[in-house]
């Protein structure tokens, strides 16, 4: 136990924890982004995907994953805060003049991007997971049309025991959310900061666990840059497409879409 304590107390130990939790979050954002992009395949696809996440998996697994992710975020933040406080203490008197020689802008602003990202995560969970942001409670009929739509698969409503399975209209929730310009602006800003956070963090986590050398540093830095931009564009394109009118709400949950109609005629 004492060795575990010394690991967690040491600067390197906390950096390793930050790297490992960072890895979980890096993989999560990619999965989340790929999931989100299904909105371009039609309302029925993204709704079916959301249905799968919520009801096909046992709810204990869903909560297990949620708690695991929250614990990872908590450890990541705890390590960042304690290390930052230690780092501040290590230089009580600063320089009158200090030049940065090679450190990148994103590497020097991890705390700034991290804090804004935390604020974003809180808003995002309240906005789309808890759906409790005032004026954006997407389940209430008074705010928007009722968000429950039939679950659609291969262009047909899914039936169970003779009744149509109903699901939440995630498509319309996202569209309605992003039609508010400042919400979209905040999402785009936050994913931009996520891009910055990742361009340093993705490569840095390999350094923290000791899996990097000069050659691989250059390669990983490049991969991190690409990864950051892919994640940024993948996330930001949804609010942008909504504001541009490319993505539209579909109160039928995809039953009325053209593709669904085509499949429907084929199947008949």
């Amino acid at each position: 136990m004492s060795s575990l304590c010394s690991f967690v107390q040491s600067t390197i130990g906390r950096k390793i924890l930050m790297a490992l939790t960072g890895l979980v979050l890096v993989l999560f954002v990619m999965g989340h982004m790929l999931g989100n992009l299904q909105i371009f395949l039609g309302a029925e696809v993204i709704n079916a995907y959301a249905y799968k996440l919520h009801y096909v998996l046992p709810s204990s697994a869903l909560w297990g994953i949620r708690i695991f992710l929250l614990v990872c975020i908590a450890i990541h933040i705890w390590a960042a805060v304690t290390l930052t406080l230690d780092n501040r203490k290590a230089r009580p008197q600063g320089y009158q003049e200090k030049k940065t020689i090679q450190a990148s802008y994103s590497s020097r602003t991890m705390r700034m991007s991290g804090i804004i990202l935390l604020a974003f995560i809180v808003f995002h969970i309240a906005h789309f997971t808890a759906r409790s942001v005032p004026g954006m409670q997407y389940e209430e009929a008074g705010v928007l049309t009722p968000m429950e739509v039939p679950l659609v698969k291969h262009g047909e409503a899914v039936m169970k025991n003779g009744h149509g399975v109903m699901t939440f209209n995630v498509n319309d929730m996202m569209i309605a959310g992003f039609q508010v310009w400042w919400v979209s602006a905040f999402y785009i800003l936050a994913t931009g900061l996520l891009c910055m956070h990742l361009t340093h963090g993705f490569s840095s986590m390999f350094q923290s666990v000791g899996l990097r050398n000069t050659l691989w540093r250059k390669r990983l830095d490049r991969v991190a840059l690409v990864y950051g931009w892919v994640v940024f564009l993948g996330f930001a394109i949804i609010p942008l497409a909504t504001l541009a009118g490319v993505l539209k709400s579909d109160p039928t949950g995809g039953l009325a879409t053209e593709s669904a109609a085509i499949i429907e005629t084929h199947s008949k």
Partner: protein, 257 residues
């Protein structure tokens, strides 16, 4: 025809550990561009003594970049603007006539200022004392080729051993972290067969001492590497992180220290 320059120097002056220091501004004229930075400070000190003032105290010894004594932040960069050199190897030709040069001591909590530009770097010695040694047979020297070491390994250990312990990495780091120094020492000894018996114990002890002395942590931004007069790469820090994780793992199952 040698060129000379007139300079404005802003130098940190501090009487002793306890007193409050401040910047003093001095004018220095006709400095040869061929003089080294420390020679320029010598000229300043002569001028100060002639005027009845205290000369500027600064650390120096070999003046050829191998002892690691000189330690000053010149215009915001430890050891000045040149890459891979110590302050004593820096020449005035890298400055221009009429320039203002700001000279500060290393700034870190573990490095208190003793006087002017001189800081106490003994915390680095404590890190060395914690694990910078090997078990060697006492008595006559072993045959040089008794223990064959691959060229690659020897070169790598030599690159790590190039560290002169000047503390520029600490001075350059926004967190005043001594990771580059500690990692160079750990990588040097842990990569050679002679260093294996104490490998895990050394890694744990040196990191614990480093943290205990009040140095900050690493944020992997690379300012240390860019300031290092010996160009010690960040690879060494990755090596230390790796060895530390292994040592902790080993220590968890079978205590090594």
């Amino acid at each position: 025809m040698e060129k000379t320059m007139n300079l404005t120097l802003r130098v940190w002056r501090q009487k002793n550990r306890l007193s409050v220091g401040q910047f003093e501004t001095y004018q220095l004229s006709d400095v040869s561009e061929d003089s080294s930075f420390l020679e320029m400070l010598d000229i300043l000190s002569e001028q100060l003594v002639a005027d009845g003032h205290e000369p500027v105290a600064f650390d120096h010894d070999c003046r050829e970049g191998i002892c690691g004594m000189c330690s000053m932040t010149i215009n915001g960069q430890p050891h000045g603007p040149e890459n891979g050199t110590t302050a004593c190897q820096l020449h005035m030709r890298h400055f221009h006539d009429g320039q203002t040069i700001t000279i500060e001591p290393w700034r870190a909590k573990p490095f208190p200022v003793i006087k002017d530009l001189v800081v106490d770097r003994s915390p680095l010695d404590k890190i060395i004392q914690a694990g910078g040694f090997i078990t060697a047979r006492a008595g006559s020297a072993v045959d040089a080729n008794a223990m064959p070491i691959a060229k690659q390994t020897a070169d790598y250990a030599m690159d790590a051993a190039a560290c002169i312990g000047c503390g520029a990495c600490v001075a350059a780091c926004p967190n005043a972290s001594a990771m580059l120094f500690t990692s160079a020492k750990v990588a040097h000894m842990n990569s050679l067969p002679q260093g294996q018996p104490e490998k895990h114990r050394r890694t744990l002890a040196m990191v614990t001492t480093m943290d205990g002395e009040g140095f900050g942590g690493c944020t992997n931004i690379g300012e240390c590497e860019a300031s290092c007069p010996k160009n010690i790469p960040l690879d060494m820090i990755a090596h230390l992180n790796r060895d530390y994780a292994l040592a902790q793992l080993k220590n968890f199952f079978e205590p090594v220290a």
